[in-house]
Amino acid sequence: MRKFIDKIENFIFVIPALAFFITFSIYPLFKTFQMSFYQWDGITKNMIFVGFKNYIDAFKDPIWLKSIKNGFILSFLALIFMNSIAFLLAILVNSGIKGAKFYRVIFYIPPILSGIVVGYIWKWIYDPNFGILNGLLDILNLSHFKRPWLSDVNTALISVSIASMWQGVGGSFILFLAGLQGIPEDLFEASRVDGATFWQQFFYITIPLMSRTLMIVSILTILGAMQLLTIVIPLTNGGPGFETEVPALRIYKEAFSSYKFGYATALSVLLGIMLFIISLIQIKLRKVD
């Protein structure tokens, strides 16, 4: 009886969290999946069941496919450049340089800013007429490199990527730093006694012991880049043309500009499945390693 009462007591304590989880995660997930089979404008009560039509349309939609491609480009750039910079910064801060705590705080400021704010900051930096970037190029006598960074089809996506990496680098940095601090110092001391160089320590101690952190950071980077939205809206709103269209922006526009709520939910489901598969593959690859 006592055991039963204990179980009930424990269950009572779990109920609020469970209720929250079901209400705000499970139910919306189920509802999203259900709505993806309907044609619905998002407002009226008139919902028409269309089966898999929304999914079939998605695979034929050039703008959606372009947004996926852009998402992958942003993910790739972030994986290579943002994470390399974050890793380098984490190693520097972990090496015991002066003011390490200060840098730790400074690098973590961009991630806590709202995406919209970051978007406007970079919009001002990139402004073709009065922006700081073109101004700097003038000062450096490099005026021939000046351009409307966000309006030029050749530079728009890269410019968006740089802004998003600037915001994201601090998040990866903190995770890398935590990973580095978890490596026992005596491993480095022992290797030093054996005459290992810095690079040998890096490749044979740091990298292998950081593999779990690297995997987590990679997954979070891809998830973040593929779901980029708030920075893109103030910077380019997907333009020029569809050059900086990203999946989340496409979903948002289909739902709230084109009144195609059913289609937008189908796109959400597809994006969710895609990200789930990517994450699974990464975890699988790490296990193979």
């Binding site: 009572i12 407002i43 402004d127 007429n129 709103n237 333009g239 020029p240 043309g241 709230f256």
Partner: protein, 421 residues
């Protein structure tokens, strides 16, 4: 177990007391919440709300949101049934009809029948559904107009003078417009910008849609009855090519939003802009010293067969939530807000054209506003919705790429026709 039950009962008791207190506190005053996107008039609306509170004891809270995102916010709130008591409508009959069909907005006809005559009939018609208009909405008026507006070109007289142009003679023909652009460019002045990144670029080409296609063909193409190619839409987009080739677009115009273009114009950084009559108040807010500018009607293109008509008509208007607890009080407030003294204050302080026709003559408010008043006679009355709403997005994006020289008008028209099937 007893202690646990005691604790749970205690928490329930405290929550009940808090709930009862908050409900009884809420009964003390009526509080109406209104969402709006009138950035430059936020302070004025709040002042008027305070004035109303002192007069009646009814609190009105105006909440400001971004104009570009207001539509999405309303649609999201409509789904969640969390709309405020009233809000400034976004879009016209197409958007309104969906909210009306879903039972989100109130048919105001029985509430405003005694005082709706204070607004011009053609303005009220823009928010009124009739039996056979095809929108499938209960006939009636669903909006209360606050102001009227139209969109035209504006130019900076000082910059015109600097480029050797007569500051009192804005371009009258399209050829002149292009020539003026070239001269401004040659003088090192950025000739033109508007919000091609969002919706404002569309409105710039609308007068020429009417001029080249005529009302009938234009609406037939929008509704998918004929193709844009057959309607001759390429000629409309060619105007952007001519502007681009003349070097008229300021760098970044392709993805620029309207507030950025307005800020540049108010700072004297561009010579011309396509904007609405509300911009007079916006410029005043952005740069109070900027006064030497004027307005001109879209220059006539000799190659076009029809008359150019400009966007405009009803400006800001309010709709009322059908589920509001304070329907009567909200409508009473809107009646007061659109009455002569408040409309006069609104016009004088915001430089917007009041919707109440009995208010002061807005022409007395300044030469620019007087010029916009003249334009009210040439506002188009009807523009059909696109068969597929995505066509509009294809056009906006296509215009951006034409400005950048990445696409031809023919390519964009082809994509529009594919989208509008």
């Amino acid at each position: 177990m007893r202690r646990l039950l005691g604790k749970i009962l205690g928490i329930v008791l405290v929550l009940t007391i808090v709930l009862v207190l908050s409900v009884s506190y809420g009964k003390e005053t009526v509080k109406i919440t209104i969402w709006h996107y009138l950035n430059d008039r936020d302070k004025l609306l709040k002042t008027l709300a305070t004035q109303y509170y002192l007069k009646t004891g009814v609190r009105v809270e105006f909440q400001l949101y971004s104009g570009d995102q207001m539509g999405a916010k309303i649609r999201a709130a409509a789904q969640a049934r969390t709309l405020p008591d009233a809000w400034t409508g976004v879009g016209l009959k197409g958007d309104l009809s969906k909210l009306a069909q879903a039972g989100n907005i109130l048919n105001l006809t029985p509430y405003i029948k005694d005082w709706v005559s204070r607004f011009p009939e053609n303005i009220v018609a823009q928010v009124t559904f009739t039996k056979d208009d095809g929108f499938n909405v209960e006939p009636g008026t669903y909006g209360i107009p606050l102001d009227v507006n139209n969109m035209q070109f504006l130019y900076n007289k000082d910059l015109f003078k600097k480029a050797g142009l007569d500051p009192n003679k804005p371009p009258k023909t399209w050829n002149e417009f292009i020539e003026y652009g070239k001269k401004l460019k040659a003088a090192g002045i950025l000739p033109f910008a508007t919000g091609f990144g969002t919706w404002a670029g569309l409105t710039m080409i609308q007068p020429y849609e009417f001029a080249y296609l005529g009302e009938e063909k234009l609406n037939a193409a929008r509704m998918g009855k004929i193709t844009f190619k057959d309607a001759g839409y390429v000629k409309v987009l060619n105007l952007l090519v001519e502007m681009r080739d003349a070097g008229m677009f300021a760098p970044g115009t392709a993805t620029m939003d309207l507030p950025t273009a307005e800020q540049m114009f108010a700072n004297g950084q561009i010579a011309m802009i396509f904007d609405g009559s509300w911009a007079i108040g916006v410029f005043k807010m952005m740069n109070p010293n900027f006064k030497n500018y004027f307005v001109f009607f879209p220059p006539k293109d000799e190659r076009a067969s029809y008359q150019a008509l400009i966007p405009g008509g009803i400006g800001a208007y309010f709709v009322v939530n059908k589920d509001s607890k304070y329907i009567k009080e909200t409508i009473e407030f809107l009646k007061w807000l659109t009455d002569v003294p408040q409309q006069a204050k609104y016009a004088k302080e915001s430089f917007n054209l009041p919707a109440n026709k009995n208010t002061i003559d807005p022409r007395t408010l300044g030469p620019q506003i007087a010029e916009f008043v003249k334009g009210m006679d040439r506002v188009y009355s009807y523009l059909a919705p696109y068969k597929n709403p995505r066509t509009e997005e294809i056009l906006v994006k296509g215009m951006q790429l034409i400005i950048l020289g990445q696409k031809t008008p023919e390519e964009v028209v082809k994509e529009m026709d594919e989208a509008n099937k």
